[in-house]
């Protein structure tokens, strides 16, 4: 069923009786060409691009819970491509380009809003760093604009420009950045994959791998064994748990990141703002809530909830940046589990076990990467060669000294 204005009018006039569930709930078959472990944003987009771009349709997506129940449903919905390093920026710029055409591509309303993102700076040194990053972005074909204080004031007059400790001196703006309705991304990809015959199997937990002579032949699940030619792990947050079933130790720690949303307010915040002196980022949802977040809690955690010291830290950041936020009541807060990698950058790679592939380590930047992650992972699964923008996202890069460390803090995951 293709969605269109005509379809909406027709259904509206006939009592909306023609809408159907947008994916099936099939029983797993005994064998597939590709099994994708994890029915989140990245797993579903991988299935979508494998079936729609690379012509592989005999695919199962195995999801332990229900699809979209992990970080695709828990993030702060920001998309952007304001990275600096050559291993990262082309990948994220491809992702932003895919976001721009996504709704037409998969015929689903993901409410993509390119409202712009501003990274504020508060000192001369930070201005230089952002100018450098902006130039790196321009070199890769992304857009970037260095705003002075007056330009930021025109856009967001309510910020605390004269803060005694961290006065706002300007910002690096990416106008093509913005926000997306996150759940709709999972549902749109699921629908697009299901249409091509991909089996999305929910409440199916992988409990082991069938590995014979160094070749991965399939998985054990709570619904019985399923075999496949290629098995693709895509369970960021729980990557270490999944891959430990195959005896693989990863350069990853799992950490909890909290996010917050205020009560609904009238439109006040026109774009996405990030604080340059602390870790705080905020946007306003279409329902009016201020959606914001900050640092990870900083200790290993698989709990989808955090602790109060970070809540306090995030609120302090919010108050330092925009004191008006103090008048808004907090409506909800929640946590998600992040694959924090050793250099803050992700992995899309084969493993040393033939037929077993790995996608993970997205730290807290996985949502914006959803389309490119799916496309590049699909490319790897279909051709056994990395996509041209993902050649550096390898699992063994640390042993070769080819780290992609945007922040330059080294192998300390809770600092990325």
């Amino acid at each position: 069923m293709r969605y269109s204005l005509l379809k909406i009018i027709k259904e509206g006039l006939t009592g909306n009786k023609g809408w159907r569930p947008i994916w099936r709930n099939p029983e797993p078959k005994k064998k597939y060409d590709v099994i994708i472990i994890g029915g989140g944003g990245h797993g579903l987009s991988t299935a979508y691009y494998l079936s729609n771009v690379y012509g592989i349709n005999n695919i199962a997506v195995l999801e332990k819970g229900w699809i979209g129940s992990g970080n695709i449903g828990r993030n702060t919905t920001i998309i952007r491509s304001n990275y600096m390093l050559p291993g990262n920026e082309p990948f994220y710029e491809l992702s932003l380009k895919l976001w721009e055409g996504l709704e037409q591509d998969f015929n689903y309303n993901a409410m993509i809003s390119q409202r712009g993102i501003i990274n504020l700076f508060h000192s001369d040194g930070q201005r230089d760093a952002y100018a450098r990053r902006g130039n790196a972005m321009l070199l890769e074909g992304a857009d970037a604009e260095l705003l002075d204080e007056d330009s930021v004031r025109d856009i967001c007059p309510f910020l605390d420009f004269n803060n005694a400790r961290f006065p706002i001196k300007g910002g690096l703006m990416q106008k093509r950045g913005g926000t997306v309705r996150h759940d709709a991304v999972a549902w749109g990809y699921a629908r697009g994959a299901d249409n091509k015959g991909v089996d999305i199997i929910q409440n199916c937990e992988v409990t082991g791998f069938k590995i014979v002579n160094g070749v991965c032949k399939g998985v054990e699940t709570n619904l019985g064994p399923i075999s496949a030619n290629k098995i693709a792990s895509c369970a960021a947050g729980s990557s270490s748990r999944v891959m430990s079933l195959a005896g693989i130790k990863l350069p990853i720690e799992s950490h909890v990141l909290q996010a917050f949303v205020s009560e609904g307010l009238k439109p006040i915040l026109p774009n996405v703002i990030t604080f340059g002196a602390g870790h705080f980022y905020v946007s306003q949802s279409d329902k009016g809530g201020l959606v914001f977040g900050g640092d990870i809690d900083g200790y290993n955690s698989y709990a989808q909830r955090g602790n109060l010291p970070v809540v306090e830290d995030v609120c302090e950041g919010g108050m330092a940046l925009m004191p008006i936020i103090g008048r808004a009541k907090l409506l909800r807060m929640w946590g998600g589990v992040m694959d924090m990698s050793m250099d803050g950058s992700p992995f899309i790679d084969k493993t040393h076990i033939q037929g077993l592939y790995f996608n993970g380590g997205w730290c807290y930047g996985g949502f914006k990467a959803t389309p490119a992650s799916g496309l590049c992972y699909a490319h790897l699964l279909a051709t056994d060669e990395p996509h041209e923008v993902a050649t550096e996202l390898t699992l063994d890069r640390f042993i070769h000294g080819k780290i992609i460390d945007e922040k330059g803090v080294g192998a300390q995951p809770n600092l990325h």
Partner: protein
Amino acid sequence: MVINHPLLGPRDSSEFVYLGDASLMNRPNWLDKDAGQKFYTYQYLRDNPHLEHKELWFHEQGDRSWLIVTRNTSTHEILKVELAKKFFDKGG
């Protein structure tokens, strides 16, 4: 979280700095034949277990001691707190 410090009693976790897996105490010997591989494993790879995890916390806002905390990573429940020093004294 409240960490029950062996010397100072219950302290808020925000007084501490977190380093990570307690295996980081077992630094490889740089003279070993395969020291490169050992240091790679030591520095970059983690067990990252679900449930019980032994980890290093530094009491920066307190007595500046290193603690080995055994904690459940699923519930955040702290099961055991020990001074890291006694393991160093044993040479391991």
